[in-house]
């Protein structure tokens, strides 16, 4: 395309527009290469660019068409051929180009623009990180680049002044240490266990060592399951059924599809603490016309269904039992001391007289003699000073035999110690008894054992026995508690849960446990007398089970020494990995008769036999075991939840090491 001096195209009608698209190579300008960052600014005006183009730094070099060359005394135009060749006017006399144009503002090419935007974004990103860092994780947590999200509601309040470093120690490090921490392991488990504790190793599966399990050595950390920073409402305690199935050898699709059958006796494997035979009560006692009015109409008559959780505890003696059994405790007394039969009186009568004064017979005898003296008569001589000495019983009572360390039925063995004790009681008071009780074992305070025992009663009884007469209780005695009567000091329980009775039973158990070989027979005789279901004090063990703590399984009973009476119902939480809540089931099935849906009575079970033994592992409930199908009637696909965590807990006895909530001062 040629133009005239005014810039007009010389032959516009002959112009062929196709030529615009036909000359792809070679390039008209070397700076057309994409790697050159700047292009002629005339392109901005959609005009043809100059042939020289801008410099690499973006300076316009197209003000002049060329840079004339001085040769042989004259200046020559050096305009490039692709720009039209040497111009007609040629250089000016001063050697400058005659075709001067206004300078342009070079424009960046596309790649350069992209690079500049990239540099800006990179700087913005770095600035953003710095800005986010400036907002400390504690001050404006949501803005911090260190905070991947809010803590769960349970943990949000417990970081305290330490902030992030409560769980992430590197947070308080200096810059160098902070960077170094990126290349070292910092599992937060160590921080977790500053607050949390379990019934076993924190990093062991289920907090339990499984030495034979496949992959037993695999390391688990708290964050293997509990991933924090997922928001205040996040559930961070979840574990899926598939994850359970991954480790457990017995694998199944779901609870309703393949879950192993429950044990035949589930959930009645553990011996109950009460010897309560549901079958005999229902069949025999509740149908007795004399008792029918006291019989419960449903399970809720005796069990606290409104307070049901894992267990549905009995309502307690006063509510559930007292109507029929309320007066039975007071009928079972305990003999503290009984005057045995002696062959020979070894007691110093003069000292007893000094300490106790004369008995009624002695007083009357003295009075007769005094009257004789006054009348001038000679008093009659005693026919026989060595009178027969006799008690009311055949032998010493078990407690005395134990305390005095004598054979209960060997009169030669116990005669002297028993009389010594009586003499001491008469002269020195109750200390003679309490000291001996305390010497046997200090497992139970003597004060608890002898609570309410009047020292005067003991002294009077001892004085009477020392004087070879029966103790006569004052009028009106016998409402309960300690009482002296003829040749005995006894304790009559006031009712259920009598503390003195409990103390004596615990004392007897402890004494038997610590007794040496010489005394073990007496200790066991004493203990078994109290624990006897038919004769024992307060009839406690008629209902409360006795456990031999030495028994390890149903076949291996203990030696009968280390016993315990189950005074309380099973604790609410038994530990382990099983959990169950009766409450929603009762709510759904009904509080009175809904229990029968799962708990069916086994009429043929020999329930009583289990309580003849003290082995806690030897037990046969009078309820049938629950079949898994009973549960899957509701807990199945498409019905009620049936995931593993509904009934099982991963951790063993999760607890806190310290108090986690603030207390008002």
């Amino acid at each position: 395309m040629s133009t005239d001096d005014e810039g007009r195209v010389k032959d516009p009608m002959g112009y062929d527009p196709r030529q615009l698209f036909s000359t792809l190579t070679p390039l008209d300008h070397d700076y057309e290469r994409p790697s050159r960052p700047y292009r002629c600014g005339r392109e901005r005006m959609w005009s043809k660019s100059c042939t020289i183009g801008p410099s690499g730094s973006g300076r316009c070099r197209g003000v002049y068409e060329c840079a004339p060359h001085f040769k042989d005394g004259r200046h020559e135009c050096r305009r490039a051929p692709r720009a039209g060749g040497p111009c007609a006017n040629g250089p000016l006399p001063d050697g400058s180009c005659s075709l001067k144009r206004s300078p342009c503002v070079p424009v960046l090419n596309s790649r350069a623009i992209r690079d500049r935007i990239g540099a800006l974004v990179a700087m913005a990103a770095v600035a953003l990180i710095a800005t986010f860092l400036a907002f400390g994780a504690e001050s404006v947590a949501w803005m911090s680049s260190l905070n991947p999200g809010d803590l769960s509601g349970a943990h949000g309040r417990f970081t305290g002044e330490d902030g992030c470093s409560t769980c992430h120690p590197p947070h308080k490090f200096g810059s160098a240490e902070w960077l170094a921490a990126a290349f070292s392991a910092n599992p937060p488990t160590k921080q977790c266990v500053t607050c949390h504790t379990f019934g076993g190793p924190a990093e062991a599966a289920h907090n339990t060592e499984f030495p034979d399990a496949e992959g037993a050595g695999a390391s688990l950390t708290c964050v293997s399951c509990h991933t924090e920073h997922k928001g205040t409402a996040a559930d961070i305690a979840g574990i899926s059924d598939a994850q359970c199935n991954k480790c457990h050898k017995t694998r199944f699709v779901s609870f309703s599809d393949g879950h192993p059958a429950f044990d035949k006796t589930y959930p009645h494997q553990r011996k109950t603490t009460l010897n309560y035979d549901h079958v005999s009560h229902r069949r025999k006692h509740f149908s007795d016309p004399k008792m029918v009015e006291y019989a419960p109409k449903s399970c809720s008559g005796c069990h606290l269904v409104d307070e049901a959780r894992r267990r549905v505890a009995p309502a307690g003696f006063d509510v559930a039992c007292a109507d029929c059994h309320g007066d039975q405790m007071a009928q079972r007394e305990m003999v503290l001391m009984r005057l045995p039969e002696f062959e020979e009186n070894l007691i110093d009568a003069a000292e007893i007289m000094d300490s106790c004064g004369p008995t009624l017979e002695q007083f009357e005898l003295l009075q007769e003699r005094l009257e004789s003296y006054e009348a001038g008569d000679e008093p009659e001589e005693d026919e026989d000073d060595e009178e027969d000495f006799s008690g009311v019983g055949d032998d010493v009572d078990p407690l005395m035999a134990f305390l005095l360390q004598v054979d209960q039925d060997d009169i030669e063995s116990y005669s002297e110690p028993a009389q010594t004790l009586i003499e001491e009681l008469a002269i020195d008071g109750m200390a003679a008894l309490s000291d001996r009780i305390g010497e046997a074992t200090d497992a139970v305070p003597v004060a608890a054992l002898l609570a309410g025992l009047n020292p005067e009663l003991v002294k009077r009884a001892a004085c009477a026995w020392a004087a070879n007469v029966e103790y006569e209780a004052p009028e009106g005695a016998g409402f309960g508690g300690w009482l002296g009567d003829f040749a005995e000091i006894r304790y009559r329980p006031a009712g259920h849960g009598d503390p003195v009775v409990l103390a004596w039973i615990e004392y007897a158990i402890a004494a038997a446990a610590v007794a040496d070989d010489d005394m073990i027979d007496q200790a066991i005789e004493f203990r078994d007398g109290l624990l006897d279901r038919k004769r024992g004090v307060g009839a406690c063990t008629k209902c409360h089970a006795i456990t031999d703590r030495g028994a390890t399984d149903a076949e291996t009973s203990g030696d009968g020494i280390d016993l315990a009476v189950q005074w309380t119902y099973h604790a609410q939480r038994e530990g382990g990995h099983l959990k169950f809540n009766h409450a929603p089931h009762i709510n759904l099935l009904g509080r009175d008769f809904g229990c029968k849906r799962c708990h069916a009575i086994d009429k043929d079970a020999d329930f009583a036999a289990a309580f003849a033994s003290h082995n806690p592992h030897n037990y046969l409930s009078n309820f049938l075991g629950i079949d898994v199908k009973t549960c899957t009637e509701c807990h199945a696909a498409g019905l009620v939840r049936q995931d593993c965590l509904l009934c099982h807990e991963y951790h063993l006895e999760p607890r806190f090491k310290k108090q986690m909530t603030a207390q008002d001062e």
């Binding site: 527009p17 392109e43 959609w46 596309s110 905070n147």
Partner: protein
Amino acid sequence: MAGVSATTLSLGRLLVPIVAAAVVVVFAGYTYQADLRLVDTSFVTGYVLLVMMIGLFLLRWRKRLSMVPLGRAAIWLAVHLIGGVLAVAAFWIHTGSLWPISVFEQLIALLFYFVSLSGIFGYVIQRVYPRRLTQTGREIIYERIPAAVGELRAVAESLVLECAEKTDSDTLCRYYLETFDWYFRAPRFFFSHATGGARGEFWARHHCGTVRRYLSTGELPYLEKLTELLDAKNVVDVHYAGQRMMKVWLWFHVPTAIGLLILSLWHFLVMNVYGS
């Protein structure tokens, strides 16, 4: 032979997505199984994702170092495309959700999605526009478009001046000043051309038809020539719109990828300090 080649090509094209899908399945399967074993997979998936992002970013340097024999650019681009798709899968596997919780991670996710979507947009553009430009039957280098616009404008102006001089009629000249001058000043109807429309062509024909009825016989040949120039300008405009789009999308894709990489490296560092 041609049939065999076509079959081989089809199999080759099928093989790539199949292999990519298999990689995703294997990776997702590994993380799922590890998760079942209570193994924290967030670090493994994070490292893989970071390596993938760095690998994807290398395409930028492959372009810069075109003089170094680092393999064919087409292969690099194919790897970039497949890697990009795999990175999206790896991102979801890593985060376990579509949208993270914290503001900083949301920013990373935002950039990641923007880079991914812009990449998809760019891929579509690179597949659509070259064909559309080829359909014009003309080729023009992007850098020469300003000169071509200027040349067409100069010819058009000279043409209408010559028309006025030789026909003693200024009808075409005045109409040019009122309408066509605007058209020749710069590329026009960008969005119409970018979206495959033909507004530019219709506009030119409409105005040629409008002015034709007012022209004398002597002026008509000039109008015909001007129509040629208008057609050429329309082709230039189509090329400008297409090539501009093919360059400009990278203004968003590449810088955002740089920002994403920087934020991801910081995230990597923080997670290793606090989370390991």
